[in-house]
Amino acid sequence: MITLAPDLETPTRGGFAENDLLEVAMGPHHPSTHGVFRMNVVLDGETVVKLTPVFGYLHRNHEKIAEKNSYLAAIPYTDRLDYICSMTNNWAYVLTVEKMTGLAVPERAEYIRVIVAEMTRLYNHACLAGFLLQDMGALGTPMMYAFREREKILDLFESLTGSRMMCNYLRFGGCRCDLPDGWLEQAIQLTANYAPFLEHFEAFLNENEILRARCEGVGVLPRELAINAGVTGPGLRASGVNYDLRKVDHYGIYNRFKFRVPLGQRGDVLDRYMMRILEMHESLAILGQALRDIPAGPVMDAKAKLRNLRPKAGEVYGRIESPKGELGFYLISDGGPAPYRFRVRPPSLVNLTVLEDMCLGHTLADAVIILGSVDIVLGEVDR
């Protein structure tokens, strides 16, 4: 006996009995939901009629922890927000505090930040392509090809920071330590090897008929809805909106690099997938330029100190283009050693606002793929 939720509105389509609707809870333990994420889906046969995302299973109240600890102690916690992109999380927080305190960042540190951020973008997008294909049924093979390249980048991060994923590398006013000997050569080698990998990866997947059939026209996100719902990142650009924070805000030294911003036309899953592939090409271009031009010099501002940072009272909002979208930090300081208010603006959470709109009318299998193309990481959604 299936009981329907009391707030369910039954749409009238083609005349069917009320008992024909089936409510399915997908998750939170589910291999395709990219973490502990639950979707309460109401189905008419196979078609999605209503979809309610439920999350909060990974809520660790990072904001309150950061409000009780010093500014420095919040940096390792930011690693754990979007746990596969720790370098960009660090950068967003460190950028916000530097905006607040006016600390300057030396040239070499800025180049290193761009290099590690673009490497993070590379492996995040490769992972997404892998996970999306896994959701479609190509169980593991594209994912493992992507992970092979990811391993090389993770090895580089381990030799630089000591940890593969929880890097804790950026500090206020620069980076924790300089590049070890031989790191730059390895990074240049990796960038050189990545382009042929990407070529093979695209040859492997882009023209695949199954991928095209399953992704074309599925989960269309119209332009106006994307802007109004605050979708950012590749999902927004796939709908044709030219808004990339690296070009809009010119944070860091991104205005020194020549790179293009790919835009999609239809805003369906295929466009979002192709966005990631094209952005990987652009990241390689940026990496090539940064690795070529990186100057020698210090990596920490001479005036920066590690302990007992007390910014003057005030508030600031800093944001960067993380691989998932706009990652922002809103900090209010009251002059004390801990922030008064520490707020993380998570891209994955806001991108989920339109999940229901994209899935309505599609089948349950498509809902899985649409969720995969939105690219969420629960560490960021729940904090």
């Binding site: 600890n69 010093s70 420095l72 102690a73 919040a74 940096i75 390792p76 916690y77 690693d79 093979t141 090809y145 092979r148 391993e151 090895d155 381990e158 030799s159 630089l160 920071t161 000591g162 940890s163 929880m166 804790n168 924790r176 070890p180 093979h200 040859a203 492997f204 997947l205 882009n206 023209e207 695949n208 008929e209 199954i210 991928l211 095209r212 590690l306 302990r307």
Partner: protein
């Protein structure tokens, strides 16, 4: 032709599959634990305390300044200071810890304690095969103390820098002591104006 994309994909898969028989790039699996990858110089997991000399507890470099305890993000370090003082490598009398506990179930392995320590006494270890050993989750200073030989072995480049700095400090301290010990030399008699 219908199926062209799938056939191109299968060619890629075939390339990877056949390549895994002779190309090391294709076969990246390491058969752990029979094969192990050499750990990186910088790798960090949980902290440990460095001691000089042969006695693990008497030679601890830690002076119980509690800076690591204050900066530790998840507050996993707990130190109780001992009121008796001991001389350190420069001869200055310093406090030392009566108890020094790290709760490694809470420890994030972030390395901030090692970064802020002014005495180079807490450093990051590389051990990750922790299951099945002593099975304690709260490590007291007996388990945390590891020799400076061990530190040089696991982090050679970092230890070289630390050793150099400490040797420099020791040289400066000895030069100061020598200058204070010898009396000021008698002033040479001024030459009489010719």
């Amino acid at each position: 032709m219908l199926g062209r994309g799938i056939i191109r994909g299968l060619i890629e898969t075939g390339r990877n599959f056949c390549g895994s028989y002779y190309d090391p790039e294709r076969l990246t699996t390491v058969q752990y634990p029979e094969q192990k990858i050499a750990p990186q110089e910088n790798a960090r997991t949980i902290p440990f305390l460095v001691y000089d000399g042969h006695d693990p507890l008497a030679g601890l470099r830690c002076t119980a300044c509690t800076i690591c305890e204050q900066e530790c993000p998840p507050h996993c370090i707990h130190i109780v200071k001992d009121t008796a003082k001991k001389p350190d490598y420069l001869g200055k009398m310093q406090f030392h810890p009566k108890t020094f506990d790290i709760d490694i179930a809470v420890c994030m392995g972030c390395g901030i304690c090692a970064e802020v320590c002014p005495f180079d006494s807490i450093k990051m270890d590389r051990v990750f095969e922790l299951a099945g050993g002593h099975r304690a989750l709260i490590l007291h200073k007996e388990l945390l103390a590891k020799s400076e030989e061990y530190y040089r072995q696991i982090h050679p480049i970092e230890a070289a820098v630390v050793d150099e700095a400490r040797a420099e400090e020791q040289r400066k301290a000895e030069a100061k002591k020598a200058a204070a010990a010898t009396p000021a030399p008698a002033a040479a008699p001024k030459p009489l104006a010719a």
